[in-house]
């Protein structure tokens, strides 16, 4: 008969032998003692690290989206410290786990003075409402570079009107339809203007052998695994073009979620028709979004509905494959007119998170003023150019008011170009982009770039904004993600044919009864109060 203590049983190889057991137990205990001792020493070391009162250094927590964070002694870092006159300590955290890291940091004792917050997530809202960050609503206007020229966007970035950070401005209009220009030309079609045109082009791309290989092996639109509501997905865009609104929409003097409109159902019927006729890739529910460009590039699926910057990415793919013949492979248009003959263009909220100042590390108004002064410098033209273009004479030179990459690239220039991909995360640009637009490497690409800018500017005039963007409902904070999943999953299931339209309607009703009604109530109250 054996007795094995449960805590020791796992490392056993031979549970039968008492000798073995005791040997392992002894080793474990020793190891444990060592671990304990080390841990205690470590805890003792990482005590308080109070910031200096005169603010000679500023600590910032920011996400990095590249494979590696920039080096702490790189040229950009040195130039940044030179321009701001402060020692800038940036704690780069990987983008994928950034929110976890934010929460862990806030719960800990070593809190930076400035934190990049990526959005109004439930975690952020809870912390902010508990008083973790300074309310900057009435403070920003005193600093010339922090006073925004886009007050609506600042309001979108606020929590029910309270501004908890300097928002990071982003182009508000980005939606575009990209298609294989060569296919379009071959079939003698015109670029789509309306959603009906989109259907026709997709159908032709599927059925008329646009690649001319004699096989029925192409489809129209490629859609990746991208289900969540209100994330600028292809579904969201098409629904908005149909007139369903942008997340929330006003109807009979009340705000309702866009999925409770008839236009939403109409748009999904339209998408389902394309799925049923195989105009959309059949694995749209599982297709990996990192491979989104592949079917387009390889001549399988001829249309992508996404942000306009993907146009350049696609052109680059063709350019890399064949530098002499990459023109006229990629065509694009902006937002499409809906069946009602009107253009309901889909804008983003115009910001991507904000730079917030935790109260735990910046304790007094005087300290806050110093940190805001620092952010004011950060938002000036010189630093904006550094963060977005790099260092003039090292990696770029100015040609006709544009930043042109210096060729051939020096190792120093390359390092700067790599680093600014991360440093751009610190850019706010609340008074518009003060840095240089990037000069495209060829005339063709410059033409495409200019056309993009033009199309997006034109579409912006017909933008339908989210009227509830500034508002945060408590119920939504508590269970919004779960609630939205009900509708988001039902939408995909409906498109895939797992449920019928009644099933989709039932899911929308379930959203209401599981807490959605309360969300609607709260949002409408906030909306009325802020009118």
């Amino acid at each position: 008969m054996k007795r094995i203590n449960p805590r020791d049983s796992q490392p056993f190889k031979y549970p039968n032998e008492v000798e073995w057991k005791n040997m392992i137990r002894r080793k474990l205990s020793l190891a444990a003692a060592v671990v304990t001792a080390t841990a205690l020493t470590l805890t003792a070391c990482s005590g308080g690290d109070t910031p200096a009162a005169d603010l000679t250094s500023v600590s910032i927590m920011a996400p990095f989206l590249e494979a590696q964070p920039p080096a702490a002694d790189g040229a950009v870092q040195k130039k940044l410290e030179e321009l701001t006159g402060k020692q800038v300590k940036i704690n780069w955290a990987p983008n994928a786990s950034y929110e976890d890291k934010t929460n862990i940091t806030l719960a800990g004792s070593d809190i930076p003075q400035v934190m990049v917050i990526q959005g109004k997530t439930p975690g952020f809202v809870k912390n902010a409402q508990a008083g973790a960050f300074w309310d900057l609503t009435d403070k920003l206007d005193k600093y010339p570079n922090l006073k925004t020229t886009f007050p609506d966007i600042q309001k979108n970035a606020s929590v029910n009107g309270k501004v908890y950070g300097v928002y990071r401005g982003r182009a508000p209009m980005r939606a575009a339809v990209m298609f294989r220009q060569d296919w379009l030309d071959k079939l003698g079609l015109q670029p789509p203007k309306t959603t009906e045109d989109l259907y026709k082009v997709a159908k032709a791309f599927t059925e008329q052998d646009p690649d001319g290989n004699g096989q029925n092996d192409t489809w129209g639109i490629t859609i990746p695994k991208w289900g969540a509501l209100g994330t600028n997905s292809p579904y969201d865009l098409i629904e908005e073009w149909y007139g369903a609104g942008n997340r929330w929409t006003e109807k009979d003097g009340k705000l309702i979620p866009s999925f409770e409109t008839d236009e939403f159902l109409e748009a999904d019927r339209f998408i389902k028709k394309m799925v049923d006729e195989k105009l959309i890739n059949p694995d749209f529910a599982t297709f990996d979004s990192t491979k989104w460009n592949e079917p387009f590039f390889n001549g399988k699926g001829g249309i992508i509905v996404d942000v306009d910057s993907r146009v350049s990415v696609l052109i680059n793919l063709f350019k890399q494959a064949d530098p002499n013949n990459f023109q006229n492979k990629v065509g694009f248009v902006g937002n499409l007119e809906g069946p009602d003959g009107k253009l309901h263009a889909h804008p983003t909220d115009g910001y991507s998170g904000f730079l917030a100042i935790p109260k735990a590390s910046v304790k007094t108004d005087a300290e806050l003023d110093k940190v805001l002064q620092f952010l004011n410098t950060m938002n000036g033209k010189d630093v904006a150019i550094l963060l977005n273009n790099g260092i003039e004479g090292v990696n770029f030179k100015v040609e006709d008011g544009k930043a042109a990459t210096i060729k051939p690239e020096t190792p120093e220039g390359k390092a700067v170009t790599t680093d600014i991909k991360s440093y751009a995360q610190l850019g706010m640009n609340v008074a518009g982009n003060e840095f240089y637009p990037v000069k495209q490497p060829s005339d063709y690409e410059q033409q495409v770039f200019d056309k993009r800018t033009e199309v997006m500017a034109a579409d912006l005039k017909s933008a339908v904004y989210n009227p509830a963007a500034p508002f945060v409902s408590q119920t939504y904070v508590a269970k919004g993600a779960q609630l939205d999943n009900i509708v988001a999953d039902a939408r995909i299931k409906y498109l895939a044919g797992q449920i019928d339209e009644q099933g989709l309607k039932d899911a929308i009703k379930l959203w209401d009864t599981s807490g959605g009604n309360k969300v609607k109530e709260e949002i409408n109250k906030l909306w009325q109060d802020n009118k």
Partner: protein, 324 residues
């Protein structure tokens, strides 16, 4: 819990039935007699106190409305509200069902396969072959779930995956295994088998190596075939190991493996894919509901404890050899 009975170095027992005379000096005498053994025990006790018991105060956030900024101590108490919300949640029966079904599938299919594979390996006479096969079946254990999931996505890719084509040809169907809810569980169990069966054989092979060889000879003389020998000698000899492993496996049963399931979930199969682990992540991390998800995790642990003690009690009732 019954007082633990711990075998000491000397093969004596302390704890429930201390062998030292209890009359005269009581504990001090007992302690003086075994002081070196207690000293030896100390690091282990410290380890558990510091790393296992002290962090448990964090479990208190299950009964609070935790906000990271306010800290564990600063957040307000809410009693059992998080638990009430969880049990009243319409998702609860589905989560429990999905978790239990996956757990029993893993236990019912993957666990016996481990034993069978160990028995098969044990019967291999050619040493070099046995070792090679052993090494080969260990390898998948060292691949991360991300890799296993990527492999599955390649193999089962709609229209072009080799396994997609093969299986659909054999069955004469056109099933998208990756999104069909009916195929989610088989796929998960299959992955589990592929990844961990080989690794799981290690302990059984160790136990098998201790079986008395004379018994086999005796059985052969008595005219027993291979199956008879396995049934009457091998299996009874490793029976206690099997029971110990079974109890441990049952204790881990509700830990269905977050990564694996998270990676294989999509909008079309979420109905059957949502388990406690993915739910805790979804609600806790993406919605910032730390208290709520801690409550869910705590509930899961309680079920785990009940299962361990239940199985142990059953095992003792039937053959008097449990885990503790």
């Amino acid at each position: 819990m019954a007082a633990p009975v711990i075998d000491t170095l000397a093969g004596e027992r302390v704890g429930k039935k201390p062998p030292a005379p209890r009359t005269g000096g009581r504990f001090s005498v007992h302690f003086a007699h075994y002081k070196w053994l207690y000293l030896l025990l100390l690091p282990g006790v410290v380890y558990f106190a510091v790393f296992r018991y002290a962090p448990m105060y964090g479990v208190s956030i299950a009964f609070k409305d935790y906000v990271p900024f306010l800290g564990v101590n600063g957040s307000p108490w809410v009693g059992f509200r998080n638990f009430e919300d969880f049990f009243a949640n319409p998702d609860f029966p589905r989560l429990l069902g999905n978790t239990l079904i996956l757990a029993f599938l893993n236990l019912g299919v993957a666990f016996p396969l481990t034993i069978i594979l160990a028995l098969l390996l044990n019967e291999v006479r050619l040493s070099i072959l046995k070792r090679t096969v052993q090494t080969l079946v260990y390898i998948p254990h060292f691949l991360s779930w991300t890799i296993v999931a990527s492999l599955s996505f390649l193999l089962f890719a709609l229209d072009i995956g080799p396994l997609f084509q093969f299986l659909n040809n054999v069955m004469g169907t056109n099933i998208d295994f990756l999104s069909d809810p009916a195929w989610f569980r088989p796929l998960i169990v299959l992955q589990e088998i592929w990844k961990n069966t080989g690794w799981g054989t290690i302990i059984f092979l160790a136990a098998l190596s201790t079986v008395d060889q004379d018994q086999y000879e005796a059985a052969i003389i008595d005219g027993a075939g291979r199956f008879r020998r396995v049934w009457h000698i091998t299996l009874p000899a490793i029976r206690s190991t099997i029971i110990v492993m079974l109890i441990l496996a049952i204790g881990q049963m509700l830990n269905t493996g977050f990564e694996q399931i998270y990676l294989m979930t999509n909008a079309l199969n979420r109905e059957v894919a949502d388990v406690f682990d993915t739910y805790v992540y979804f609600v806790g991390i993406t919605q910032g509901a730390y208290s709520y998800s801690t409550a869910v995790g705590l509930f899961k642990s309680l079920v785990g404890i009940v299962l361990i003690f239940g199985t142990n009690w059953l095992a003792k009732r039937f053959n008097q050899s449990g885990l503790f």
